[in-house]
């Protein structure tokens, strides 16, 4: 696999020359692989938001570079808008950015800014709505008449409709109830599977990330402190706890079982895996 985005030595400092000067990300290096589903985890203030706003050129690095494909995205600042079409970013609580009279028009905002023709816009709007789990009957409704969960899906469709090579979602399930969370994540998983494009999901729920992504990058203290498959990351669970992050409940149970002397892999992170491991340990009789 080859990287689609490379972050090289990225530093971003807010409030230079003021007493509030601080680096939100500090000499960060990371790669996002083409076609992968990457989870970025870290608590508030770990630099997550600052990092992802660099990936589509909303923020300009204080120092360091962001490479998209092989090209520095700031090589020609005039072309930064085209970077935003290639790297789609869905902010936290995106439903608060809806503004058009109809769902159709709102989802079409991005494609329209790209200068596409009517037919292509129409295709994209419909396909994006389907990916985000909304029916066509909503197209002519006002987005403000929808439920909270539906509004969020419209907003996500608005970014998907640009058909970006990389889709970044900041806390897509924040504030939703368990059923809403589940179906939202299912839609994102399906989108990744069917489109085959790169998806980056930022979250502070370890359980959510563990169950969905191929790879996890852990952010703490303005830098990437760990990255790898969920299994690799959770095998260093103690370090996660040390930087103030949680590990999935299942992993915590497994860790405790291991500590009590059971021969269990302490890095399992799904209910099904731990169940299977325990059955195996007992001697295979299921």
């Amino acid at each position: 696999m080859k990287p689609i985005i490379r972050v090289e030595n990225l530093t971003h400092t807010y409030g230079v020359n003021t007493p509030f000067c601080r680096s939100a990300v500090d000499h960060v290096n990371m790669e996002i692989m083409e076609g992968e589903f990457l989870g970025i985890i870290g608590h508030t203030g770990s630099g997550k938001s600052t990092l992802i706003q660099h990936l589509n050129g909303l923020l300009k690095p204080t120092s360091g570079r962001i490479l998209l494909g092989e090209e520095d995205i700031w090589a020609d600042p005039k072309k930064i808008r085209s970077v935003r079409f290639r790297v789609g970013l869905v902010f936290q609580y995106p439903e608060y950015q809806l503004f058009e009279e109809t769902v159709y028009k709102d989802v079409a905002f991005g494609p329209k800014n790209m200068g596409l023709d009517e037919k292509e816009i129409d295709r994209r709007v419909r396909s994006a709505l389907a990916f985000s789990g909304l029916g066509e009957e909503l197209l002519d409704k006002s987005p403000f008449d929808l439920s909270g969960g539906q509004k969020r899906r419209v907003a996500i469709a608005g970014v998907i409709a640009m058909e970006p090579e990389v889709l970044i979602l900041d806390e897509p399930s924040a504030g939703l109830d368990p059923a809403g969370r589940r179906s939202m994540l299912e839609n994102i998983r399906n989108y990744h599977k069917e489109k085959g494009t790169t998806v980056v999901m930022v979250s502070h729920s370890m359980d959510e990330v563990a169950e969905n992504v191929d790879r996890i990058a852990v952010l703490a203290n303005a830098g990437v402190v760990m990255s790898g498959t969920p299994h690799q990351v959770f095998s260093r669970a103690q370090e996660l706890l040390d930087v103030g992050l949680n590990v999935p409940q299942v992993t915590q149970v497994a860790m405790e079982l291991k500590r009590q002397g059971l021969a269990i892999d302490p890095a399992v992170y799904t209910v099904a895996d731990l169940r299977a491991a325990l059955c195996k340990l007992r001697g295979g009789k299921a």
Binding site: R182, G244, Q252, V253, L278, K285
Partner: protein, 282 residues
């Protein structure tokens, strides 16, 4: 034990959209909350849990039935202030419930409205800020605080009115895990040390484990009511109404299907690991 809140056959419907029939958000709720208890109200979005919360200090008035707060009928307009000083409310969005520019001024807002004399307001503000662990932020500007800290300020603002009961209407929904922890620890402490009744409205299942009592709502009705141990182990029933049992319970539930002899009601991590390990040792 005395009850602080009691509802009898409470029904409520929001004004419907044009040309549509009104839908009942609450369909006959009979609930009684004991003074000093810690109750969690669970339910998915639209289950009526927030509508119920808003009846507990007369933000909404019953469409049918009655709500009593400390024996006062909430639909009696004369008693409005008396009801609200007894039951404080903390809302979801921390930014939209802070009135003042300075933390201490915000905490003082309630007592000022009640006409408490100045020296006593000052005493109450400092007690309230201490109770939520925010005393070092007395003179800070609220918009520089984290979400969890803002919610603790909102809680302090309620405590300064010396209420018997605090209702938290999805107050943890917008917070990160750290912020949620801060708020939960704070209300737990207030419940234990000051004997303030806590009613926590949430859809986070793990928050239910810390309560004395869990009330589950669905379709405007109370569908389950009991201790966390009684409620959280009903894996299938919870899933059927759009909720999810904690992973620990889900694990034990699965293991029982696999033929393990483990109890279902081990809610915490430690407890869950202990019962599994015990199963292996015997």
């Amino acid at each position: 034990m005395t009850e602080i809140i009691k509802t009898e056959n409470l029904t409520f419907a929001y004004p419907p959209d044009e040309g549509k029939e009104p839908v009942l958000a609450l369909q006959g709720i009979d609930l009684s909350i004991a003074q000093g208890s810690f109750t969690v109200v669970l339910g998915h979005n639209g289950s009526g849990k927030s509508t119920l919360a808003k009846h507990m200090n007369a933000v909404l008035l019953p469409g049918g039935g009655t709500v009593w707060v400390d024996g006062l009928d909430t639909s009696d307009e004369e008693l409005l202030i008396e009801v609200r000083r007894r039951v404080g409310m903390v809302f979801q969005n921390p930014d939209n419930q802070i009135v003042a520019n300075v933390v201490e001024e915000d905490v003082a807002f309630g007592p000022e409205n009640l006409g408490i004399p100045t020296p006593e307001i000052q005493a109450r503000v400092s007690v309230a800020l201490k109770a939520v662990g925010m005393e070092e932020f007395t003179l800070h500007a609220p918009h520089h605080l984290s979400g969890g800290q803002k919610q603790r300020i909102a809680i302090a603002g309620v405590i300064a009115m010396e209420p018997a009961c605090i209702v938290l209407d999805e107050s943890t929904a917008m917070l990160d895990p750290l912020g949620r922890r801060e708020v939960l620890d704070t209300v737990k402490k207030l419940n234990r040390e000051k004997n303030i009744t806590i009613i926590l409205i949430t859809h986070h299942m793990d928050e239910a484990a810390m309560a004395d009592r869990v009330v589950v709502m669905d379709g405007g009705r109370v569908v389950m009511d009991g201790t966390p141990r009684e409620i959280l182990v009903q894996v299938e029933k919870l899933q059927a109404i759009g909720l999810a049992a904690p992973h620990t319970v889900e694990l034990l539930h699965g293991l029982r299907q696999d033929g393990f002899d483990v109890p279902l009601d081990a809610l915490g991590i430690q407890e869950c690991a202990d019962v599994i390990a015990a199963g292996f040792k015997s």
